[in-house]
């Protein structure tokens, strides 16, 4: 490879201004083209997986281990981080609210933030780090050691056998992780705010109930479903397109976390905007903490 370097665009063109501009355009064109090709390949991967999902149900021996891994094994870590996030929120906002004498509004702020934003994002981040990157590494190893080829050679379809169960597990079980993160966060906030700082329990909760609606809970859960789908597809795609060797597997695993995380934040923004518009359809007066 290294003995015959491919000719970069700037060597094809001369060094005049026109030539430089042309090479600049060509470099950008290549970048855009590569990105489009990668995006197209990822879309095709998703489409084919969806087609398999509706063609035939996955076999139960592929379903249960994945459901267990996503739903059960991830619960403790999600619960733990959720608790801490709830407490940290209470610590951070207490002094500001105290200065203006509104510490009883703390409940509304903490619980609203948790249910709409932090709960889903936290659960998804944990899932991407704990399960997503492991899936990418596992499928990557299977690709590198020809196990995926072997599956196909024996008439099983790798997308049906490997990707569909992982996708379904993430899709169906991430809402339960989110509920866990929400609940433990709320409990953590209550513990620090009410038990430790001795904010009046009645006002803490009546303010919360007033501010946080069922719709807010739904927003969080709807978002989480999209996060789960994105994590599963990004991780499986990275695994399936893993480069040879241990290095390739490591890269697939890292890439899957980084890309999942970017997708989570991007989806969070986009879905936040879209769902807010729905919110104002149902509650035209808008949200109010005070």
């Amino acid at each position: 490879m290294s003995t015959v370097p491919s000719t970069p665009n700037h060597e094809i063109f001369d060094h005049s201004y026109l030539g430089k501009t042309a090479s600049w355009v060509a470099d950008w064109g290549k970048l855009i083209l590569d990105t489009l090709v990668a995006f197209g390949a990822f879309s095709l991967f998703n489409l084919r997986t969806f087609r398999w999902m509706f063609t035939r149900l996955p076999r139960s021996e592929t379903i249960w281990p994945n459901f267990y891994r996503v739903g059960v094994s991830s619960l403790p870590v999600v619960a733990l981080t959720g608790t801490f996030i709830g407490m940290v929120l209470a610590v951070q906002s207490y002094f500001q609210f105290r200065q203006i004498g509104l510490e009883t509004r703390l409940g509304a702020v903490i619980n609203m933030t948790l249910v709409r934003e932090l709960g889903p994002v936290l659960a998804a981040t944990m899932l991407a780090g704990r399960v997503g990157s492991a899936m990418a590494a596992e499928l990557g190893t299977m690709r590198v050691t020809e196990q995926i080829d072997a599956l196909a050679a024996m008439g099983a379809h790798p997308l049906h056998y490997l990707v569909v169960p992982r996708f379904l597990a993430c899709l169906f079980l991430i809402p339960t992780l989110t509920v866990m993160a929400d609940f433990m966060g709320v409990a953590g906030g209550h513990f620090y705010g009410v038990t430790w700082l001795e904010i009046d329990i009645h006002h803490y909760w009546s303010n919360s109930i007033q501010a946080v609606t069922n719709f807010d809970l739904m927003v969080g859960l709807i978002k989480s479903v999209f996060f789960g789908a994105a994590i599963a597809m990004v991780s499986c795609y990275q695994g399936f397109n893993c480069d040879a060797g241990a290095e390739g597997v490591g890269r697939a695993s890292t890439n899957s976390f980084v890309q999942s995380f970017v997708m989570i934040l991007l989806l969070d923004l986009v879905l936040g905007i879209i769902l807010d518009n729905f919110y104002f359809m149902f509650y035209p007066d808008g949200a109010s903490f005070f």
Binding site: S2, T3, S6, R48, W52, T55, M142, T145, E146, Q147, D149, A150, L151, A152, A153, M154, G155, A156, H157
Partner: protein, 287 residues
């Protein structure tokens, strides 16, 4: 006897490779390969590491898609089938992977039973008996059934891979270096197994091997593939196609050197290169 049998069975070859070219990201591996394999034949595929033997076999079962050309199996164009038709057709193939490619999340028993569970309608007891019978055919005791692939030696894994490929009694079996890394006795066990499998049912086989013992013993016909980088432009990539007897009398120096294991002018080439380049090519040619 073999020839008559082939003629009786059908006129059309079982596998037909028509002008197949394969490349990966600007690296050309196969160029315009033509090959016909009649039903019942045992074809041995020779060629140095990295010349594209594995890629050619993967093209035949549709794991690699050619950039140009067609692959026909029993008259059907592999690359025109949809996912489901293809997975149905693959029931008729057995593929022994170079490094076994056992599923390491499953036990040996589950590995060998995988094709049966995937397609067959057998009871657990039947599956168990078939698995044990196949394993003993490749010289493995019952006790391996509950082990994981990581607990076995490379040679044992290879034999498990063989048992797994044979369990559905496929029509076309492809062996990718089935004896590489086995001791001489075990190699001969595998040779006998290949021959026995063919004798028992009318199976077509493609065997990739570097072991000339195996090649001479099992082959009806031998084909030698040359890496594209060593060919003159326009020259066919298949530099030899004939019977074992013809192999011994061939005049092509490249084929004779390969068969006799002589480095010949390669040594000169290596000396001409800088040390850095030499190590790089030796890495690149591992397969």
């Amino acid at each position: 006897m073999m020839i008559e049998q082939i003629m009786d069975e059908q006129q059309q070859p079982l596998v037909e490779i028509k002008g197949v070219s394969v490349s990966f990201e600007n690296q050309h591996i196969l160029r315009d390969v033509q090959l016909q394999i009649p039903a019942g034949e045992t074809l041995v595929l020779l060629g140095e590491s990295g010349c594209g033997k594995t890629v050619l076999m993967k093209t035949i079962i549709g794991l690699v898609h050619p950039n140009r050309g067609d692959v026909l199996f029993d008259g059907q164009d592999i690359n025109r089938l949809n996912d489901q038709e293809l997975s149905y057709l693959r029931l008729r193939f057995g593929f022994v992977f170079q490094n076994a490619a056992l599923f390491d999340s499953m036990t040996i028993g589950q590995n060998v039973a995988f094709p049966l569970r995937q397609h067959g309608r057998f009871t657990s007891a039947q599956i168990r008996d078939m698995v044990i019978a196949r394993l003993s055919e490749v010289g493995l005791p019952d006790s391996v059934v509950h082990k994981k692939p990581a607990e076995l030696s490379g040679g044992m894994r290879k034999r498990v891979g063989l048992a797994r490929a044979l369990i559905m009694n496929p029509e076309l079996i492809m062996y990718d270096e089935p004896t590489t890394g086995l001791d001489p006795i075990m190699s001969d066990v595998i040779n006998e197994l290949i021959i026995r499998t063919r004798r028992r049912n009318p199976v077509t086989s493609i065997v990739v091997t570097h072991d000339m013992n195996t090649a001479r013993k099992v082959a009806d016909r031998l084909v030698m593939l040359m890496p594209l980088s060593r060919l003159a432009p326009g020259e066919s990539q298949i530099i030899f196609d004939g019977t074992p007897a013809e192999l011994d009398s061939t005049r092509d120096r490249r084929v004779r050197q390969f068969v006799n294991g002589e480095a010949g002018e390669r040594l000169m080439e290596m000396r001409g290169e800088s040390p850095a380049e030499a190590t790089e090519t030796s890495h690149g040619s591992q397969s």
